[in-house]
Amino acid sequence: MVIQEIGVAEVAARLQRGESPVLLDVRDPDEHAAGCMAGALLLPRPLVARRISRLVPDKDTPVVVYCAVGIRSAMSAMTLIGMGYTQVWSMRGGFDEWQRSGHDWIVPSLDGGAMPLSAEQAMRYSRQLRLAEIGVAGQAKLRTARVLCIGAGGLGSPASLYLAAAGIGTLGIVDDDSVELSNLQRQIVHATARIGMPKVDSAAEALAALNPEVCVNRIRMRLTAENALAILADYDVIIDGSDNFTTRYLVNDAALRLKKPVVHAAIQSFEGQLTVFAAEGAPCYRCAFPEPPPAEFAPSCQDAGVLGVLPGVLGVLQATEAIKLILGIGETLMGRLLSYDALSMRFTELSLRRDLKCPACGTGPGKKRSPQVGASQ
């Protein structure tokens, strides 16, 4: 029995000429879901003999069989010829070669209907579409997600870059500062050429350059007790990358009221802290830290100094937790505070306890009076 092979260029040329052979994808469903030729029919190799007559009843129909590299397709072609199909080709090099050669491909929708992703999107996100935990459905969740970054500084820079790269549909950025030369040692979403520009504009420019599909909402203002609820209400996940305690308590209180999860990180010198405050039943920021330290014990990065890489580490972890929250995968840091010491290169996990008397989220007897949103103490 002779199996005819056909190169990807010849298949592309035939399709271009308007010929319409059946494109039979004999890979596994997860491979198909991560990307396939437009119009291909999925029929995994073990099912070919059993199901082909239902999919292709006329045995004289031209059929181009493909798999990942050309082995399963050759075996499937042999099966088809043995069953009496007269015009069967196995595509040499398979879908991998098809992609490598730069031909168009698509990501099929789960219901086989309209394409949820363009060929460009499928290529852009191909490495994460291959992950079973993400796939097409997960990418669609990321695309419809709305994430708010409080601050476009050390934490907000890497967090927003990676979230944009991952295909988060809408990114809000709250910051009322402008880019300064001293920011650039760590705030990598900005650039030397943009010194003096409002940070929200500078960040929007960098994020658009990385991924033009992301809608960036520039919110050039300081978060206050008056505007916090209205600003946070529009988003699904809040990234707290602010640089002061007043804003951190404000974010906590507003997010609690709106039942929005907060991915919290804070840094100083060589140290960082990271956790997720996720609405009901879990400890909140006020449970973890009921009061801010006195000002003399909590210098800002400006006063105490900060290793430029430090917010990079923490900000990327914030983006990771946000993506997990959106996708509903893995185990978030809810109830756990991750403490990072860059000098000893140690991550330590500390268990946070919910305070039933917490003024913000407590439900037990003796609960302290609810603070106004954002009260520092």
Binding site: G154, A266, F289, P293, P311, S339
Partner: protein
């Protein structure tokens, strides 16, 4: 725990006052963890193999 803090204060004079108030309570902005679990009790027994971490909230971003 109280002994540990006293020893720490001998090595770093004044540090105990930053963590413990005049009434002998852990200051509300400080958090003490023993083997990763939060501790509020200065009478808690600790051994040489326990890991005690004392942290405060950071604000930088």
């Amino acid at each position: 725990m109280a002994e540990l803090l006293a020893d720490l204060d001998r090595q770093f004079p004044g540090i105990r006052h930053r963590m413990i108030d005049e009434q002998g309570s852990v200051r509300p902005h400080m958090r003490i963890f023993v083997n990763g679990k939060q501790s509020f009790d200065l009478d808690e027994a600790v051994t040489s193999s326990d890991v005690v971490q004392i942290i405060q909230a950071l604000s930088g971003g």
